[in-house]
Amino acid sequence: MTRLFLFTALVATSLPTSAHAFSSSSRFAAPVSGLETGAWGGGGGRWFTGSPGDGFTCAVCHGEREAPFEITGIPDTWEPGSEHVIEITWPADQNGAVALEIVDADGRPVGTLSIEDDEPDARCPADAPATLAWPVGDREVVLTEACGARYQRVRWTAPSEGLEAFVYVAGVIGNRSGDPTGDATISERFATARVGAPTPEAASLGCATTDATSFPWVVLLVFVLALRGRSRPARARAPCARRRIRARHALLVAWLVLPALAHADDTVSASLFIRNDTDRTTVITPDVSASVRLGDRTTVRAGYTVDIWTSASIDVRTAATRAIREQRDELNAGLAHELDDVTLGADYRFSHEGDYVAHGGGLNLRYRFADGNATLGARLSAAQDVVSRSGDDDFERRLGTLGALVTFTQNIDPKTLVQLAYELTRRDGYQASPYRFVGIGGDGRCQDSPLCVPETHPGLRIRNALALRARRAFGERWSFGLDYRFYFDDWGLRGNTILGTLGIVPTERSLVSLRYRFHHQTAASFYAPFYLLDEDSVPRFVTRDRELSPLFTHRLQVGYEHGLDLSDAGPELRLTVAVGGSTFKYLDFVGLDRVWALDLTLAAVVVL
């Protein structure tokens, strides 16, 4: 009995097994639906040869691991009516299936094909035909099914008309797993021409379904990366080295330019901000800037900032993508000119990252009156952002921003200062994230929700902020400040922010500061932690933006600044180190309850 079982098992394992779902030729022609026939899962008329009549290949189901097929007999050129034996073979111990089609550039059959399967190795073990020619509309596909045959051999008679022919071969070597994945495939294309005719385009494409188009894009990508390497730091290769070079360039430029322009109170500064939080996000922000006075009344400044952002946050995890690393480069410049009691200014900034480009600028006015004890300030700003989506060349959305800020500052007495401010911002355009999707009918995340739709925000947002600030000195060494800011917008979001600042001057050249900030906000009107499906329709606006959810934050920062003279009558160096800690409490956001963050700021300012 045991011997019989072993024999049966041996025979079973040595016989060809079903390599894939379409081991029978007829499966390709059969409908997908089995509602009428009861047989499900046909090809629906797709034969996966990769020809113009059916551009998909076997690789879309069986993967792209290269299969050991050998193809012989395809002529480079042919005479009208000439005959050519084309043979496709595979190793004897492999379970192969292969399809062949010979067509012109438009996908129409060229010449005639006849099957040569007289030998046992070209047939199924029970001497049934392994290779059949299947009419597919105007096409003809010769297909050898995976029944144990060892090769496909066809005789092709060249056409009496026409100048070129293309041979498409698609094959599979099954891994006997019982499903289509993990098999090995081949997908080849050969161009042939009538004798004396121009040589057709280059032959033999790879098996990947996108190879025909990916090559130019790869070349273009390499070219763009090379250009980026020249014009701005690349993300992929040696980013740290590139950043060092860039920072050195900025400092070098600053030092080359500054001597000619240097004036009292000119400054050069560099800073580094590092932040890490429990939502697996790290931000590193180096910054260099310089401010130079030109004459007695004009000041120009310029700066360069980099945000290097690495994250595997809840947003990233929800999108089922790996950790993301982004870099944003920003250039900014400004000009201010004093006219007695009025100072006029203008500034511009440009920032760029892989999927976001922003231009912005503003005009500033400051008017001092009441013997310099009162100041009225105003600012008008405008920005234009272009949002794109990595990997989607078709995606481009714009966001326009207009803003106005009015401030009034009053010295109450020599030790007390108060300020009132109002800011109005109008944002019009795309304000969602192209990477965030919102689950509908589940817990808000897409993973287990029946519907999953792109995040969609209203196109228009009017933001308002009112602020009251006060500062007062106590004695020679202490000062205290208190700010309150009320924010509201037409998305229904309300926010309250309180900032307390304590300053201590322990020595003449040093300052210790302590800052505490509290912020609380309500949710936007269309925000919901999850959206229900049992309504008449999905809401027009859906979001997974936690910044639109109800939350509160606490932040505490301790800083120390110290001034040093670089020479007896020369520049002064001001060094600052600050450490901050924050906590964000999300009151109604699925998947994230609280985030803790720690940040460090190092800054050096040289006052020339």
Binding site: A21, D179, A404, A432, V453, R540
Partner: protein
């Protein structure tokens, strides 16, 4: 200075006036004919989209699970009839694809109909081109695209 202040205040007032309340409306229907989907649309999606390296894959947002291609539950026979879970998942994800970035209004603007459509015919970027660089449907005249569009417009019902 008075002139500047007046201009500024007028500008602020204009900004406030144009800032009307957020629009209201519908982004996508929460339901379309599921029976019609299973009879007409699901076979089409399985035929053209449901391959293991394409959308028969749980790494994709849009998923189509079907016999002869990829099974949601690996223990399901490769040629067995579609399971209820496979039909539901395919239906729900197709419905989701009727949304679009920015919430555009018509089914023709949706990802479901633009993604598989050739760019020259108004389609969106799609990595699922064939080896000749062509998207799934060359034009809106393609019967396959028409079938999807009819369902998206609510024109397909249970046979």
């Amino acid at each position: 200075m008075r002139v500047q202040l007046t201009s500024c205040l007028a500008w602020v007032a204009w900004l406030t006036l144009v800032g009307c309340a957020a629009e209201v409306g519908e982004a996508i229907p929460s339901e379309l004919d599921a029976c019609g989907f299973e009879a007409e649309v699901y076979p089409q999606l399985a035929r053209d989209c449901g391959f293991p390296t394409c959308h028969g894959n749980d790494q994709r947002f849009f998923q189509v699970w079907a016999p002869g291609r990829a099974r949601l539950d690996e223990s399901t026979g490769i040629l067995a009839a579609p399971t209820r879970a496979e039909l539901d998942r395919s239906y729900e994800r197709a419905l989701s694809m009727l949304g679009s970035y920015g919430g555009a209004g018509t089914p023709e603007d949706s990802l479901l109909l633009r993604k598989p459509l050739e760019a020259s015919a108004g389609g969106a970027a799609h990595r699922g081109v064939d080896r000749l660089g062509r998207d799934v449907y060359p034009s809106t005249d393609d019967p396959g695209w028409q079938r999807l569009a009819q369902w998206a417009r609510g024109e397909v019902s249970c046979p």
